[in-house]
Each structure stands twice: as C-alpha cells, then as structure tokens.
Amino acid sequence: MRDLLSINDLTKDDALEILDTAVQLAALSDSTNRKFPTLRGRTVVNLFFEDSTRTRISFEAAAKRLSADVINFSAKGSSVSKGESLKDTALTLQAMGADAVIIRHASSGAPAQLARKRWIDGAVINAGDGTHEHPTQALLDAFTIRRHLKQDQGDLAGLKIAIVGDVLHSRVARSNVLLLQKLGAKVVLVAPPTLLPVGVEHWGAQISFSIDQVIAECDAVMMLRVQKERMEDLFFPSEREYARNFGLNAARITGMKESAIVMHPGPMNRGLEITAEGADSKRSVIVEQVANGVSVRMAVLYLLIGGATSRDLTAQMGEQS
C-alpha cells in the first residue's frame, strides 16, 4: 500500500490488517497515553484546504503518538488563499521532505492528483475529498461496529447497517458503502430520492425511502450530517419535513434492535438529522468513534510509512552503488 486514496485501494485482507493493527494499538493506548518511537524521524504533513478541526486533530494525535514530526498547513491565510495552486503547494511541501501528506480538499479527486502526478513523493492519505471519499472515517466506523458487534474479530458478515441522510453529497457514505460491503455486511441507504445519486443502484446496497421500514432489522444506524444549505438547492422543502421523515428521534430509537448502535461521523445538527435523545442515548457510540479514530489513523500511518517506503528503498539503492 503506497497511498490511501479510496477504499478501493484496499483488499479485504488489507482492511482487516488495518483494523487488527488498530485493535492492538487501541489496547496499548488504553491506560496510558504512551508514545511509540516507530515514526521517529518521519515528517507527516496535515494539508487541510477545508476547515476541519476534529479530523486534523485526530491525525495529529495519531502521528504524534508514533513520534512523527507533524506540520500543519491550513488554507486560510496561507499562500493558497492568495491564489497558489494545489500543484505549487504540493511541490513546496515535497521540498520540505514530507514522508506522508494527509490531505483534505473541497475537490473530489485532489488527493488522486497529488498521488498520480507524484507532486508528492511520500504517502498520500485522503482525509476527505469533495463528495468522493473519506477512507479513514469508514475504517474507524467499521472498527467501531466490529468492536461492539463482533468482539474485535474477523469481518462484518451477517450484519446489516443503515446509512441515513444526504448520500448524494456524502463522502463518508461512499467510503462506508465500499468498506462495509467489502467486509461482508449488508448496507441499506435511506434518503429522500433527491439526495440519492443517479447511478446509486449500482452500489450493491438496498435503497429505501423510509427509515421506519428498515430500522428494526439493522445492527447499526449511521446518521449522516445534512447541511441546511441543501434546502436552497431544493433538495428538501423544509428542515421540519426532513427531520420528521428522516431524523433519528426517540420513537425510532425504541424501534431498534436491542444490540443495535447509533453512529454519526460528526459534526451533528442536533434537531435535524438526529435529536438529543438519539445523540445521547445508551446506544450511541458517537463519542467513542472519535477515540477509535486515533487508533485507526495510527494503524494507517504505521502501515503506510512505518516500514520501508519507496523513498527508503531508493535511498538504500543509492547507498549500495
């Protein structure tokens, strides 16, 4: 694995390796906030063109726990806001010797550009590109599901997961559909027809317009954030109508399976896609998802740049000659 741009970059075994590694790292991090020397001397850059405190902090914590040097680059107030292109920004970081670049960008495909054109020599990790994918989010979601429903072992066969909300614009949904199915789970997408992409019927997931019809058979319900601005683009007529028909409220929670869990990638619109009862209920693992994110991201960093990278091998060949 050289980069992590999309869940499609991973085989099922790769994905399980990440999850299993994360289990070990989570166990070790439980009591103490220990550091490992594993990435000492490696430089990890957070290249965030979109605001995101929680994801950036999660990656930063993961990198620091592995003793990597972390450089944070955010677009606001930087050369990018003065019109510097993605290419030039990348080449500048490259010149500073980044072993891994974690990139979040508003344009789908921006990480793929960095990797494919090799403006960045090191590993490229997609922390969310436009409406395309957010692979580490899906990995931490799968980790969380596996922890609660499969005792941290094996795949997700036999489970049914509902993903509810703005599927059309959600990179979290895309990555999750790919990963959950890769791990053997069944997925049902619940959304109003306006928020489902044309072509979604090829994703292999069940489609439903009614959360009530499917919620009782689900082992996990993943609520997606719905942006209020979508109303202006006529995706739904009002917040009230959306919340009433697609929101996770107290009544719907009681209809869930005994063992089922409630998830949300955050940040939440309390009152729109999820009520306080939903967010704070005993079934909710939303806060735990955040902690799991650090372990999963540590695992990703370890597997991408903890061992020999192509730069190391090139350097070794140089030494030998």
């Binding site: 290419k87 789908s108 495909g109 590109d129 395309h132 990179r171």
Partner: protein, 429 residues
C-alpha cells in the same frame, strides 16, 4: 508555387488518380500550361481538404492558449483547409468589426481559410440579439451564428434568432445545455459520476434543449444546427425531426465518437470537456448516427487551454480538448476501421457536407475550376501522438502517447503546399 501535377495518388475509392492544378485551381489534363511542379503521391489517398465548422481559435483575448496563426498551423497539419472560428473570444465576436478582424488574420497567414461564426446575442449573454445582418454583410460574410460556450436558453430569444436569420438564409447553431440543470456540473451524470463524487451533467440537459429547438425551428421554418451532439437520445430526436422534414442539422466531435466517461476515473482533467464524455451506449449511437447521415458532419470543437488550466484538480480545470491535428485519425479509427463507414463516406462528412452546410463554396470537392484545397493522406501508416510536438500552442490532447491510423502527409490550400509532414517548417513552399 501553386501549379502542380499530382501523380500516382489514389482516390477515395482506391482507384489511381491524377490531379492537375494551374495557378491555384483544379484544371483538366490538357489545361496545365504554366510551369508546374510534379509530386509523386505513391501510396497516398487524395481527398478534398477537411472543413471544420467548430473551432476555438482563442484570438482575440486568449492568445496564451492559441492564436489564429497557431490554430491555422494545427489545422493544416490535420488536413483542414477551412476552419470556423467560434465567437467566444475576448471581446466576443458579436460585431462586424471583430468578425472582420478574425477573418483578415486568417487571410494574412495564408495557411487555411478562417471563417468566423458570429455570436447570436450581444456578449453571448443570451438576452439581446447581436447585429446579425451587419456581420453577414461584413467582409467575413457570416452565415452561421452561435453562442457556443453558452446555451441560448431563453426560448423567446432562440425563437427570434431562428426567425431573424431567415433574412439571409442563415443558420443558428445551438450549444444545447440547460443552465439550470448543469450548474457547476463536472462530468456526465451516471454511474461513474456517482462513484467519483463529481457533480453530474445529465443527458436530459442537452436533449431537452434539442427537443425544444427542433420544435421552434419547425414552427418558424428556419435552419437549426445542433453543435457537438453527445447522447443517444439526442441522435434519436434529430433522426425523427429529419423524418418530419425539419431543417435541422447536427455535428459530432471526434472525441465523442471514441471516448467515454470512464476516463474521468483517473481524475485527469484532460478528459474534462463540455459537453462531457458520455457512456459507451452513447458512443455507439453517435457512430450509427454519423454512418446513417442523421449526423451530418464531424466538427472538432478544438478547444486549446494552457497547461495550468488542466494541471489541477478536476473541479478547477477548464473544459475542452484539442482536436484539429488528430481529428481525421480518430474518425478513421472510430468509423472506418470499425467497418461502419467507407473512407469516402467519412471524407464527405468531414469535407463536402460541412462545406455545403456552411456554403464555403471553395471547399469540399475537387471538380475542375475549384480552388485546389486538398490533402494527401497515407491510410496505411500509423503515427504516435506526442502532445509536445503538436502545432497547437496548447497541449491538452487526450490522445498523448496513442498510436493512431492514417497520417496526413501534405495539405494544399489554393494550390499552395501549406503543410508537408516530411519537410516540416517549410510552409508556403
């Protein structure tokens, strides 16, 4: 030197043929009296010079991407002896002054004919009709009008334009793209766009405008031309309209005859184009449409862009691909090599038919008395596309590195050798 005896060539049926040119015009055998040069065209096929009705020359205003000169060089390298300059320049070609400027630039370079297409509306803003008669009566003699780059979306404006051009038997060429359905759209809406997270451009945004404009043209009995048709649905609409006798014509680009939206999966903005690459089903329908004449002509929609406009993330990239230098090869590959058309039929669609549609009377056939606008092509050789070696100022071709059939060897304009592949750099000799 504009008197020639072209020997040992093959015609479009594969038969041996000779061509006699005297003082820039095609003459019968016995009328070749002036001193002339001989050219042995062994192994080469002789055909009328290609005619493009959809080219973006970028001058005035975007000379960093292309100029009339560089586009002319690219045109003759692709076998074109006439190109039509789309008006989306800076300033827009919506007055007699600008169209004449472009026309004269083309004449001054002397490589191929440049016929400006005038804007339908002032500034291409879609609200006020531009002075179409003034452009028609100018030196540029504009007959085709288009707001290409933008759609004439207001149905009333489109109606008025269709009615008004009847004054001089003109044609309105529509860039069919409903603006509301394609706001910020990036690529064809379908399975691939859903997977890639790129905003979709639905086929209906093109087809709805085509359907509307066909009905308008029928209602006011005027001539409509559909630019760059890209969908199976659009082909069917044109087919049915023609059966009813509506005066509609249509064009297809070489890239839409070959490439599909799957190519966007790499997020390489070289494949970002307006209208977007569609599905394999659409490609097949377009090929059948060109073969059966539903689609009248091939037009390149040659759209040069500087490197920084393509070397970036998809959503920030400009729309468009080069086309002039690879057009014949791509069409030969898509249509002749696949068995759908003969080379004679292809030549008609790329030469005779566009010349007739646009009334470029000096192009499209090589009858005695016609100016000698022709090209010699080697149909048996192939060539490798090298983006850096193309004559265009820009390098945004989707075919870089590809091996393509059919090599344009020599292009003649008014009997002057303006492109000679083997002896390059000796234009005008």
């Amino acid at each position: 030197m504009n008197s020639w005896l072209i020997k040992n060539a093959r015609d479009l049926q594969g038969e041996k043929v000779e061509l006699m040119i005297s003082d820039g015009k095609v003459v019968a055998k016995n009328d070749l009296d002036q001193p002339y040069s001989e050219l042995d065209a062994q192994g080469l096929t002789l055909m009328p010079g290609l005619v493009d009705l959809h080219t973006h020359l970028r001058e005035p205003g975007r000379e960093d991407a292309e100029t009339v000169l560089s586009a002319s060089r690219a045109a003759v390298a692709g076998g074109y002896t006439a190109v039509s300059a789309m008006p989306n320049t800076l300033p827009v070609a919506d007055t007699a002054g600008v169209v004449e400027q472009v026309y004269r630039l083309g004449q001054s370079h002397g490589l191929c004919d440049v016929f400006p297409i005038g804007a339908v509306t002032v500034g291409q803003e879609g609200e006020q009709l531009a002075e179409l008669v003034a452009m028609n009566q100018s030196e540029a003699r504009v007959r085709i009008f288009s707001d290409d780059g933008h759609c004439v979306a207001d149905p009333l404006v489109m109606r008025r334009a269709l009615e008004y051009v009847k004054l001089f038997d003109g044609v309105v060429a529509q860039h069919a793209q409903d603006p509301r359905l394609t706001e910020n759209a990036q690529m064809n809406e379908g399975e691939v766009s859903a997977r890639l997270g790129l905003k979709g451009w639905p086929a209906v945004a093109e087809e709805a405008i085509i359907a509307r404009d066909i009905l308008l043209a029928e209602h006011v009995d005027s001539k409509l031309h559909i630019c760059h048709l890209t969908t199976a649905g659009g082909v069917e609409l044109v087919r049915q309209a023609k059966l009813r006798g509506v005066k509609v014509t249509a064009e297809v680009t070489p890239h839409h005859l070959l490439l599909t939206d799957e190519l966007a999966a790499t997020y390489d903005a070289t494949y970002k184009v307006n209208p977007p690459l569609r599905t394999e089903n659409d490609v097949q329908a377009l090929r059948r449409g060109l073969a059966d004449g539903t689609i009248d002509i091939v037009a390149t929609d040659h759209a040069p862009h500087p490197q920084e406009a393509k070397d970036c993330e998809w959503s920030a990239a400009a729309f468009g691909m080069l086309g002039l230098e690879t057009a014949f090869s791509i069409c030969y590959l898509a249509m002749v090599k696949s068995g759908l058309m003969s080379v004679a039929e292809l030549s008609l669609r790329m030469s005779g038919a566009p010349a007739k549609l646009a009334r470029y009377k000096d192009h499209g056939n090589l009858a005695v008395g016609m100016p000698a606008n022709f090209v010699l092509v080697d149909l048996d050789k192939s060539w490798k596309v090298d983006a850096q070696a193309l004559k265009s100022k820009s390098k945004n071709t989707p075919y870089d590195g590809m091996e393509l059939p059919a090599v344009v060897e020599k292009t003649f304009h008014n009997g002057v050798l303006v492109y000679d592949r083997v002896n390059q750099g000796r234009e005008g000799v």
